[in-house]
Amino acid sequence: MIGKEKLFKKLEGVLGRSKADQTEIVYLGSESGLTRYANSHIHQNVFEDNHTMIFRSVVGKQVGVASTNSLVTSDLHKTLADSLEIARKQPENPGFPGLPGPATYQEINTFDEATAKATPKDRAKIVKKIVGVAGRKKFTVAGSCATSRSEIAILNSLGVRAYQPTTAASVLMIPMSETSSGYASGTGRRFSDLDVDGMVARSVMKCDLAQNPKEMKPGDYEVILEPPAVAEMLEWLNYVSFGSKPFIQNMSFLSGNIGKSVTSDQISIYDNALDEKGVAFPFDFEGVPKKKVFFVQKGVAKGVVYDRATGLKAGKKSTGHAVTANNSDDGAFATNICMAPGKVSRDKMVSNMKRGILVTRFHYLNGLIDPRNSVLTGMTRDGTFYVEDGEIKYGLKNLRFTDSAMRALKTVIGISREREQIESWWSSVGCMTVPAIHLGSFKFTGKTG
């Protein structure tokens, strides 16, 4: 960790040398450790100390981007010059809106001293605990435990000065018997907030319950999707529909549907990076403050997230969801997807089910079959159960589903009041915060073996 003052001093020295009309520097630095275990022992244990500086130079409407991970001053000067040279060599981009000006950001505490100081030994202790509990049931266990500390800074020649130090921690576990597996995971800004005891108890119980699974014929069933399963579905919907680019290109299920009913009125899906209960973060990678954005509110399609360039194209303002300039081909991206909680407890949700399937999580989802109709496919994994008369009866062999998310989300029976934080593809700046959902209809189209 370099620290705000020292980092700004170094980067402002470089920014001051720019000969471009506008210049932006994004700094991403992190020290991260990840302990991975399988067959009940640690088999990979890694640490990375890295920092990337991304320079964006603007001459009129010409834009050039270059990046380096060397902090040596001469390398920074060279990379800045490279970005200017790239800008000057290309035609003008009429769709470039210019860099943003200074802004005020919500103060959010995203750093935890203890998590920042977590050691490989601290992570190994957690793994040892998980292995011990699973071992008492004679289950092997696989998973990972990660901690990191990072700094993100955005500076530009128009006065943007954004800085945020962060920490993150996550743990994941998959206990396994000869015939079954269970699952639990957690993520947050503070290592100490992770309820490892609760997670290991829950995942071991699932593995136990799922032993000697039976086959279920594919078909249309009532389902309870637990939070990891809901998160995996929303992560794909985010990728194919909640960003500005698929929306503008008419590939999103929200395209042409704004203001229309697309799901049950019990469903609200939104991005909220400002909620400190989640993995919060105050600004995007252009230095624009984050805003809460509804994709679906009480069943009605509302909108998508924008950066400045795609916002200009769509006649909208940036919602604070830009990614870094060297990774911006796919437009703005939501990093803190949430589904609003309901009123039912998760236990009550099971007891409300007459006959159906409980899905712990999915494996290898894909949402590109027919994104305008929000068609998803994927396999169940690590705990699929048959429920009858309000009780979990037995484990099921894994099933493939293929269904339209919009169609399935029109059949909501209940949404849990409890929500879980699930690690996402963007773990340093966000996570998914989701409940369990009870649907009246969900189409399973295949099975394993």
Partner: protein, 480 residues
């Protein structure tokens, strides 16, 4: 850099580690994207650092740093030892590495034109012209093209005396058009979906891809898809073209033969494999004509290199031989478990990632058919072209793929077009139903530049040499 790396090795030897290696990687990347008549992005990235892997008292530790001063490397080496000690806190059998000759060698990707020496104007011009042709129909609402180039320098040294330098060069690109008629949106790509095709060659690869000659066809097929019928829900004969065959091999053969995955070490992310060790030399994987090799020496393949990231020489390994499952992709740690030496498939996605088993060029060997003859020989069926969606279970058994476009085959002739077409199956049953593979005239190595595996996530560059092939009695048309 050699002196600094060797100092680290000296330090680690003095600490009495079982084994250690230090790997310097310097990777340059250039990426261009042209969209709807303007340059969307043009960027260059430089990424440099050192990864240090230590085996101490039978346990692994890995530490990496972007700060490559002698002092930072020493600190990182010490940290790797501490991490290995923490790994020993969970009891396990000590790691034993297969014997390996410590090579002192170098390797360079053969190429004709260094893409980093070709002007950005030349590259932009080719993409702009292609996109212009794609946009020449009012129904095309988006047309985009891109190129990416990678130049990687690696220097590997180990406590066993290995000292290997490699200079790798990769090039690739492609384009796509999205047609929209107010209700339906459909995408068509060239030469492959998701960014095009990639290989270990220079800019001559871009020039060989005939971007301009194919743009009109791609445009018209995207527009035609708007009026295409949905793929029928039935069981039928299918013919799969090259790029989709590459992904079929990738997901249903390439991943299941990674021995680390088979042994359970990828469970926490990507799952396991049905091709367990007890099935080696016993499992009938496909029909008699199915022969698959993992070949890190295939000329131009995106999975081609000189030495892997454990210093093992690139090689060709039979995987499926006349339908029988005969081999895995292995590492120095996993190979002894099946009584073998490593066949050189350990690669890391940069200096900051630990090497894991990755596909090289996993190739389906060509058969005997001309594609036209194969279509003419098919009474009823569907031809599937270019991947659109992919999904497979955590043992690599139940898969479902969607494609950009499909065509009905009726009495040996291609007929109407289908949109949103999918096919699904169970891996061994599916490969057992393969009754024809096209010949070497149709065989091409397709690069896959985004193969995800590992935690933290690693994206590998791999490839598959394939030709179009025919499969019988396949379930198609499951779309919602």
């Amino acid at each position: 850099m050699r002196d600094k790396l060797k100092e680290c090795i000296k330090l680690l030897k003095a600490k009495g580690v079982d084994y250690a290696d230090c790997r310097f990687v310097r990777r340059e990347n250039e990426a261009l994207r042209v969209s709807d008549g303007h340059v969307d992005s043009l960027s260059r990235t430089l990424d440099v650092g050192v990864g240090i892997r230590v085996l101490s008292k039978g346990s692994w530790g890995f530490a990496s740093t972007a700060n490559v001063t002698a002092g930072d490397l020493k600190k990182t080496a010490n940290l790797a030892v501490q991490i290995a000690r923490a790994s020993a806190m969970t009891a396990h059998e000590p790691v034993v590495l297969a014997e390996q000759e410590p090579f002192v060698a170098s390797y360079q990707t053969p190429f004709k034109k260094d893409p980093f020496e070709v002007s950005s104007e030349t590259k932009i011009d080719l993409l702009m012209q292609s996109v212009e042709v794609l946009r020449a129909n009012a129904k095309i609402k988006t047309a985009e093209g891109g190129m990416r180039f990678f130049k990687t320098k690696k220097h590997f040294v180990s406590t066993e005396g290995a000292d290997i330098e490699q200079d790798l060069l990769e090039s690739g690109g492609g384009y796509h058009a999205v047609a929209f008629d107010g209700k339906e949106a459909q995408r068509r790509s060239y030469p492959n979906s998701f960014g095009g095709d990639f290989c270990t060659k220079g800019y001559e690869f871009i020039e060989s891809m005939d971007f301009l000659d194919n743009a009109e066809r791609v445009r018209e097929e995207a527009v035609a898809l708007l009026k295409a019928s949905p793929c029928p829900d039935t069981n039928t004969t299918i013919i799969i073209t090259g790029p989709q065959m590459a992904l079929q091999v990738h997901e249903s053969c390439g991943h299941p033969i990674e021995l680390d995955r088979v042994l359970g070490t990828e469970i926490s992310l990507a799952g396991g494999s049905f091709m367990t060790v007890d099935k080696l030399n016993k499992l009938k994987y496909g029909s008699d004509i199915v022969n698959i090799n993992a070949d890190a020496t295939t000329p131009g393949g995106l999975g081609t290199f000189g030495y892997d990231d454990e210093g093992v020489k690139a090689q060709r390994t039979p995987i499926i031989k006349k339908r029988k499952f005969v081999g895995y992709m292995t590492s120095r740690e996993t190979a002894p478990i099946i009584g073998k030496k490593s066949n050189g498939t350990m690669r890391a996605d940069g200096w900051n990632r630990v090497p894991i088993i990755r596909m090289t060029n996993v190739n389906l060997e060509p058969g005997t058919w001309e594609l036209d003859d194969l279509i003419a020989d098919t009474k009823q069926g569907i031809l599937f072209d270019l991947n659109k969606s992919w999904s497979i279970d955590d043992l690599r058994l139940n898969f479902q793929f969607g494609v950009e476009a499909a065509w009905e085959i009726k009495n040996g002739v291609l007929g109407r077009m289908y949109k949103n077409a999918t096919y699904t199956g169970i891996t061994p049953e599916f490969w057992n139903s393969c009754d024809a593979i096209c010949n070497r005239n149709h065989w091409r190595v397709w690069g896959v530049p985004n193969c995800g595996k590992g935690e933290p996530m690693q994206s590998a560059h791999v490839a598959h040499g394939v030709a179009p092939a025919r499969f019988r009695n396949v379930k198609v048309g499951v779309s919602k």
